[in-house]
Amino acid sequence: MALRELSSLEKYLGLKKPNKYSTQGDKKIPVLQNNNGPPLVGLVTIACHLVKEAKRPELLGDSAESRAVVQQWLEFRVTRLDSYSKEDIKTILKDLNAYLQDKVYMAGNQFTLADTLIYYGIHPLIVDLAIQEKEQYVNVTRWFNHIQHYPGIRHHLPPVVVLRNRIYTSRHH
């Protein structure tokens, strides 16, 4: 999963040469073999590295404050969205919904890497929401729909329909 995300991110960043990745451990943590030094381990670490390589530092935030906020959500992604219980899902969606109430993007008014990785990470949760739940988390849904249509982001993931027409969720027929 993480590897497909990284390759989608490479495409979005317009990196010409695709990197070679491997994984380590049961949790399949991505590893990037780096020519200029020791290998890089971890989704966030590698993603930040790719952003720097593509010379797009603004994607990590354009001030110390926004950089901190971006890093915080990147950490949220790998700690909260990569393993969760049934109860967690409700808390995650509720909190994000409250957070996004007055924001366009995860870090405020600018698109950053946090939007990309949270989008990839939350996709499996959103796919499973019934229309009533999408209504309930309207800010998350709005943000999600916006990001999935953001040019060049979606790549490996199927689009989720946010219209009020999902009689069933995608997983259960």
Partner: protein
């Protein structure tokens, strides 16, 4: 900038140390653990930092990094990596360790929990030769890792002495004044005690949470294959039973069957087959046949049992079929209901009542349940967007829409699923949607619908499920599927549809709508029973007296274990809910799937044309019943099982036993003088009978069948060893011995006829007819744990004995295999065959699978051309390699590579393969 911390919170150690190390000016405010500082988080999260721009940081690592950045030190990639590792790998282990130390007093066991991540850190430190993790100076990584480890290494049993470089690093950071100050602030010099009140407020860590354990699949039958030793007690007991008399004959079944006081009352249903399809063998074994075997068995056991089933007739598919065949939906249902009835009749499915869902009673009962759910407030209303055809003036069900698949661009994707890529589609996602009937482009319209509020019923359902699954016989797959639905959380489900062919929704706001089939169909069980007897409520509103068995294939489980029980629970009318949910896995056809459209497999109506008797079909399907795992129907295997098990084992034994009575004893059962050896056989047979009953009671139909075959194997061996055909020619003692062996054997044959009854009813009756056995033997043998009595005593006159089974010849089977292996479609539809072949490379999914031997002719392999092309490919390949070695100009190489690829493509075509390159295997997740 304002920092919020709480005393005794280990995470605050990080941020306070970072403040001290960096010297960033920042006001720290001490609050209680429960203080909600970050407005958007539902759980209190500390430490938290209020940034100058008004935003909040709630991640301690992000706060530390920010402190360092403000002080002028940006985090390096290596720092990032350590911080990510700390958050994802170290923290979960530390949380568990702290939980154990602080709350459970199990500090000594902590090293086990943190061993893994700690080793990683120790190893990394031994490889570097700088004083700090990322270089010569202390960085955010050092502070964060020290602060994370400090509370747990504080007077813990984790020995650091042996890890020299780790100890050096830890002591170096720990010795910094800034760190000591922070530690004092957070822990107040009180150690673990100080963290107690914080830890008590945290949810218990869930690291060691196990995934569902797969139950072991081995059955007693498989575990016990070798020769069984019988004890002397068993032998004596078997001999005693042998001499018991027959029970009085059971009374005939009298309809209507109703629950009776003091009896085991069993209501048994088989999943309702959908009316517009001819059922295939997989459908038959999955529900009706399995249910039939169990109901026949149950009657033999003396249970008061009602077996109902019927055709499920409402819904889109019927409307569709009606349109295709130019009939009304009712006419379609009448036509196919008759088809189903005749197929089940041929398979000897002994329903007490085989009804249908398109009846008055269905409307009455479904609407009653609806109003009850409505009254009890378990229905929610919502609007849904749907495609609507303005030309046909109706909302289009998913199957009435076709268009381009949004995922793979397949042009004929259906509104619910794409046949090419198999993905589920929401009808409005289709590109260029078309109404299937008039080919106009539909528009999106909103429509009001009712949803069953499953989340509201979830806790009630779980309570009931706990009871039902622990007390009843649910197959493991049924439990597992149900658990996974509950684990994912229940969603409201729409129960109405914009269709005509269905049970009308009685609510005035939803006129013109009908109930959606999954809500409606299970109610069919009730209405079918109501059409059988007016006293149907004695079965369906009587959970105290009635046990309900549901038989189905596994795809039907959620509707019977979650959705339908929710409808009934919500209706609150003391309904009988399922006690035993018996679900089969899938039966494949010769290792592929049954497919009507591809003409692959045997369908119910074709089985009788094979000339193979219904009983043999039943036997083989039950022998390969997908019990516990998927299984496959195979013609060769069917022939083998018929010839080896039925003909050579079972049939041979029964026939020999009967023939000996006829030939050597003038058709009268001889006097039996039981020796120890005979009694031992009785005990062996009795044990097999006992196993059979235990398995059948648990609905292990396939496993139980093996024990029938074991008995005839014992019998054959017994005859073989005792050679009555020789002894009959000997002296008096020998003749008497021949008589005993023959008498015991013919009685075993009688027992076998009873045990076979659920599986092969005709053969079972034929055996008793040939032996002229008293009818009362059938309700004697299966009493209690098994009662093998001497039903044919000395002097009993047998009838005419003749062979029970016929050999299935190899050429006969070959012919059948050809006929049903996906070829008949081509005979019937020569036109379609051509188009399918032309499209072979583009859409391999829809092409009939040819038998392996025919590949050469079907795909038109041109071996001569292939040879030439292979040569050309090799030459061109050499050329490209040479150019590359010479470092020729890029354009030149590209042109030559293109030629090579083209040649390879031509070769693939000549070899009859798909010219597309083999799809790349997707990388593992």
């Amino acid at each position: 900038m304002k920092l919020f911390v709480s005393e005794g919170n280990p995470h605050c150690l990080k941020v306070l140390a970072a403040v001290e190390v960096t010297g960033v000016h920042c006001e720290a405010q001490y609050v209680s653990h429960e203080e909600k500082v970050v407005p958007f988080l539902s759980r209190p999260a500390l430490p938290a930092l209020l940034l100058p721009n008004g935003q909040h940081l709630f991640s301690s690592n992000a706060i530390c990094r920010y402190m360092f950045e403000v002080s002028g030190v940006e985090s390096t990639e290596l720092c990032n990596q350590w911080l990510e590792w700390e958050a994802t790998d170290l923290q979960p282990a530390l949380l568990q360790a702290l939980h154990m130390t602080v709350l459970q007093g199990k500090g000594s066991e902590v090293s086990k929990v943190i061993q893994g991540p700690l080793n990683y850190l120790v190893q990394s430190l031994s490889k570097i030769n700088t004083p700090y993790l990322t270089g010569e100076a202390v960085s955010v990584a050092d502070v964060v890792l020290w602060a994370a480890l400090y509370p747990i290494l504080l007077d813990s049993g984790v020995a650091l002495g042996e890890h020299k470089s780790f100890k050096l690093w830890f002591d170096r950071v720990n010795g910094m004044h800034a760190c000591q100050t922070a530690a004092q602030k957070v822990l107040q010099g009180k150690g673990h005690e100080c963290m107690k009140s914080y830890m008590q407020r945290q949810p218990a860590p869930q690291i060691s949470q196990c995934r569902d354990m797969q139950p072991s699949n081995s059955t007693p039958a498989e575990a016990d294959e070798g020769e069984r030793l019988v004890s002397e007690e068993e032998i004596e007991a078997a001999a005693l039973t042998w001499n018991k008399g027959l029970s009085p004959q059971a009374t005939e079944r009298k309809h209507p069957i109703l629950p009776q006081e003091g009896k085991r009352n069993i209501l048994l249903t088989s999943a309702l087959p959908y009316v517009n399809n001819v059922p295939h063998l997989g459908n038959i074994i999955g529900c009706v046949l399995s249910a039939d075997v169990f109901s026949r068995y149950g009657r033999l056991r003396g249970w008061n049992l009602l077996f109902v089933c019927g055709t499920d007739e409402y819904g889109t598919a019927t409307e569709n079929k009606a349109r295709e065949e130019g009939l009304t939906p009712q006419q379609i249902c009448d036509k196919y209901h008759a088809v189903h009835s005749s197929i089940y009749k041929w398979f000897q499915i002994d329903f007490d009542f085989f009804g249908r869902t398109t009846t008055e009673k269905q409307t009455e009962i479904a609407q009653d349940i609806f109003w009850r759910l409505h009254k009890n407030d378990f229905l929610v209303e919502d609007t849904v967007e749907q495609l609507c055809c303005e030309n046909c003036k109706r909302f289009l069900a998913d199957r009435f829409v076709e268009g381009i698949c949004p995922h793979c661009s397949y042009p004929e994707a259906r509104g619910d699923q794409c046949d090419k890529c198999g993905r589920l589609i929401n009808a409005v996602e289709l590109k260029e949607p078309q109404c299937k009937v008039c080919r106009q482009t539909p528009v999106i319209r909103t429509s009001k619908h009712l949803f069953l509020d499953l989340p509201k019923l979830e806790s009630q359902l779980e309570q009931w499920l706990d009871k039902s699954t622990s007390g009843g016989d649910w197959t493991p797959n049924a439990k597992q599927i149900t658990r996974s639905w509950l684990r994912d959380g229940l969603k409201p489900r729409c129960i109405t549809r914009d269709l005509h062919w269905g049970t009308p929704v009685p609510h005035p706001d939803f006129k013109e709508k009908v109930f959606y089939v999954w809500f409606d169909a299970p109610i069919g069980y009730l209405s079918i029973t109501a059409n059988y007897t007016d006293k149907w409520e004695k079965w369906w509103k009587n959970p105290q007296q009635v046990e309900l068995y549901n038989f189905m294939a596994k795809d039907n489980v959620p509707f019977h274990s979650v959705v339908f029980p929710c409808s009934l629970l919500g209706a609150q009318d003391n309904y009988t809910l399922v006690n035993h949910l018996v679900a089969t896995e899938y039966l494949n056809y010769e290792d592929t799937k049954f497919s009507k459209s591809r003409g692959v497999g045997v369908f119910g109506d074709m089985a009788k044309d094979t000339g193979i008797p219904s009983d043999v079909w039943r036997f083989y399907l039950l022998y390969v019943r997908p019990e516990g795992q998927d299984s496959a129907f195979s013609w060769a295997d069917m022939a083998m099982k018929n010839n080896s098990e039925l003909l050579n084992n079972l049939g041979n034994f029964i026939n020999r036993a009967g023939m000996f009575v006829m030939k050597f004893f003038e058709g009268c059962v001889p006097v039996m003088d039981l020796q120890h050896e005979d009694k031992r056989l009785l005990a062996l047979v009795g044990w097999e009978l006992q196993q059979y009953i235990q398995l059948m009671d648990k609905v292990k139909i396939r496993d139980a069948l093996k024990h029938i075959l074991n008995i005839s194997r014992h019998g054959n061996q017994y005859i073989q060893v005792n050679e009555p055909w020789k002894k009959i020619k000997g002296g008096d003692t020998e003749r008497q011995r021949a008589g005993t062996v023959t008498g015991v054997s013919v009685n075993i044959a009688c027992l076998l006829s009873v045990m076979l009854l659920p599986y092969m009813p005709t053969v079972s009756q034929t055996i008793r007819d040939q032996l002229n056995a008293p009818q009362s033997c059938i309700n004697t043998m299966l009493q209690g744990t098994g009662t093998f009595v001497c039903a044919l005593s000395a002097g009993h006159r047998v009838g005419t004995v003749s062979p029970l089974f016929q050999k299935l010849e190899a050429d006969q089977i070959e012919a059948l295999k050809k006929k049903f292996g996906g070829q008949q479609l081509e005979d019937e539809l020569p036109q379609k065959k051509k188009t399918a072949q032309n499209a072979a490379s583009a859409q391999p999914v829809t092409v009939p699978v040819p038998a392996a031997a025919e590949v050469t002719t079907v795909n038109g392999v041109d071996s001569e051309k292939a040879k030439q092309l292979t040569q050309a490919v090799a030459e061109q390949g050499d050329k490209v390699r040479a150019l590359k070695a010479q470092k020729a100009e890029k354009a030149v190489i590209t042109a030559e590579v293109a030629k090579l690829l083209d040649l390879k493509k031509q070769l693939a075509v000549a070899e009859g393969k798909s010219p597309e390159p083999a799809p790349q295997k997707s990388k593992k997740k």
